[in-house]
Assembly symmetry: C2
Homo-oligomer: 374 residues x 2
């Protein structure tokens, strides 16, 4: 393990090289803003160590003459913006998918590939407007500094978002996290924050921004983060045909269950993608399921999670508890993880089910104790 | 029936006064652009008959001095825009919801409360920019000329959308439909078209636009078109708490099944809401379900349906066929209509299931023959 990584003592690493992990679930939802030592860590290769003073961001592609910005120039030339945004990996909740059918060669995420922070930086829209771009530019590519092994070659991590999304004003080039300078493991000196999108588009250790006609050809965009039907395998996949992941789907998880005087207090998080926000959480218990509505601890805001809580009657050990969320476009989660299974284990947003006092239902975790209850 | 309504001979009226209905399903998907005589008809009250020459649109509210536009002024002052947009009622597919548990006092829509047309008009964004509005304006209310009975009072139909949505440039004030002047039953002389939103926001016979601080208090916005949990009834509903419907959820339907030489040709439509488009359709058949991927007849475009087709092996009478769609934010449809049931029967987007050669499964239609197959 990289000795420079500073995470909580009980942070759970699902993979050591490169390091990937998250905090215990009950602590994940203990605060609206996740403290940096608890913030989930997603890396695809080495963790670069960059010098803030010599760092330069290149903006190139269809902009004509490439621009190079120092960190100081970005901080002085553009208004400073601060905003909360929840990052969530497309592989969050993969554990329930791989319990249905194995998902090899991917990080075995539990429900912990998600965290929320307050980011400080400048608006990508303002930077793009400053450099100017032609009308035929349609995509904005982000390339990191990190070198990753992918399909037998060494490549820098990257991906793109539609230019129209980049211009909405809430995509940040961030140098701060929770009021502190960005740490090395979270992308210092500069990273992208794309609210409502899969975490992979919030590229860390940002080296280049390229204006493009078409989506990025970077392997982490063109040959990863695409969604296929359950029947497609890694050998039969036509990468051009898969759903190019971008906006997140609606999702929710149970993170903590506590016995209270007259029943159970059930708590968790819920998220929505794009410009949508979470509007409702339904918590079901028993068999047949009885549904109650959860109440929210956090306000409704696009791109930001809402922690929720619900109070169920007393349950017996082994009785079912599940959750599903609704977003502001009336989308809700599918019931069965089998019906959304795909060979990369992305975007599992089936109802989250647990059995009271037992490990997750249907989940064969390497470390099941981290998701035990009571 | 209003003698001035010109619909196809086999148009199916689910209600006569006010008139509400749609075309037979197999014809619904016969063309990308629905011919006007087949376009579904949704009315809440009388159908106004307005004189184009004396017609005026008022733009008021937070704009300061109200503006009044004649149709001629709108046509001459702003660039003419033409675009396809699919309209879909929030009550589409109510029949499968009310088969679970009755949904009284609502139009008993089948899968036919949807159609696609090419609309001609001017951009609402350009009109709003022309009149100007203060920074604290947040919602745009549309009020029609039609008088409707609602909660014991007579009220004009209306509703609102967020100003940010109105400014995206693709919300039209439309006077034309499929290259012809808008007909009286579809809102002449002027109606709103809000792509990706529930049809109720595409207000017909448009009389007023009001810039507001908060969403519309019109009864058809504040006391209708809200989504509640299955446990909520009309008597227990807290209208302030329900999900204020806006963007559509992802949906799909089977509309036609034909025997071909070596199996069945299954066809239908799929839709996505907001700025999302339909990316995939999965067609399942048999028990246990086998899934195949449908192919699309129409391009992927936000706010516009995609008709699809799939080819299954031969099936026995009574065998199951179902469909579910995926949107570009990786949202998919829930499996079970019971889990999305609500007392208004809105936004039923559960997998659409039929049994080969039989009426819809679980559906007690007043006119079951319209949805019989083979």
């Amino acid at each position: 393990m990289d000795a420079l990584i500073h995470k909580s003592q009980d942070f759970v690493f699902h993979q050591e090289v490169p390091p990937n992990g998250g905090p215990p679930l009950n602590r994940l939802i203990s605060e609206f803003v996740t403290p940096e030592p608890d913030f989930f860590l997603r890396t695809h290769g080495d963790i670069p160590e960059l010098d803030c003073t010599t760092y330069r961001l290149t903006v190139a592609g269809l902009v004509g003459k490439p621009y190079r910005f120092s960190l100081k120039e970005l901080r002085q030339q553009f208004p400073v913006q601060e905003m909360p945004a929840t990052l969530q990996c497309a592989g969050n909740r993969r554990c329930s998918a791989s319990a249905i059918k194995p998902v090899p060669n991917e990080v075995h995420w539990g429900n912990d590939a998600i965290s929320n922070a307050v980011w400080t930086g400048c608006s990508l829209a303002k930077v793009l407007t400053f450099v100017g771009f032609p009308g035929h530019a349609k995509h904005v590519e982000f390339i990191g500094t990190d070198l990753c092994q992918k399909e037998g070659t060494e490549t820098r991590f990257g991906g793109s978002i539609p230019l129209a999304r980049a211009l909405l004003g809430d995509v940040l080039l961030a140098w701060g996290m929770n009021g502190q300078p960005l740490t090395r493991e979270h992308g210092a000196p500069l990273r992208v924050i794309v609210p409502g999108y899969i975490g992979a588009r919030s590229v860390k250790w940002l080296q280049e921004i390229n204006l493009l006609l078409t989506p990025s050809r970077n392997l982490f965009h063109a040959h990863a983060y695409r969604l296929f039907a359950p029947s497609v395998s890694s050998s039969s996949a036509d990468w051009e045909h898969g759903l190019e992941l971008g906006e997140l789907s609606v999702n929710s998880c149970i993170c903590a269950i506590e016995e209270v005087s007259n029943g159970l207090s059930v708590r968790g998080y819920a998220t929505a993608g794009g410009n949508r926000h979470v509007v409702r959480v339904d918590v079901g218990y028993g068999e047949p399921l009885k549904w109650i509505e959860g109440s929210f601890q956090d306000p409704a805001e696009a791109g930001v999670w809402r922690r929720w809580q619900a109070h169920t009657p007393k349950l017996l050990v082994g009785e079912l508890i599940c959750v599903r969320a609704w977003d502001s476009a009336a989308n809700t989660q599918p019931e069965d993880p089998e019906s959304v299974w795909n060979f990369k284990g992305y975007m599992n947003n089936a109802w989250h089910r647990v059995r009271f006092g037992m490990p997750w239902e249907n989940v064969k975790l390497a470390k099941p104790e981290i998701e035990y209850y009571l």
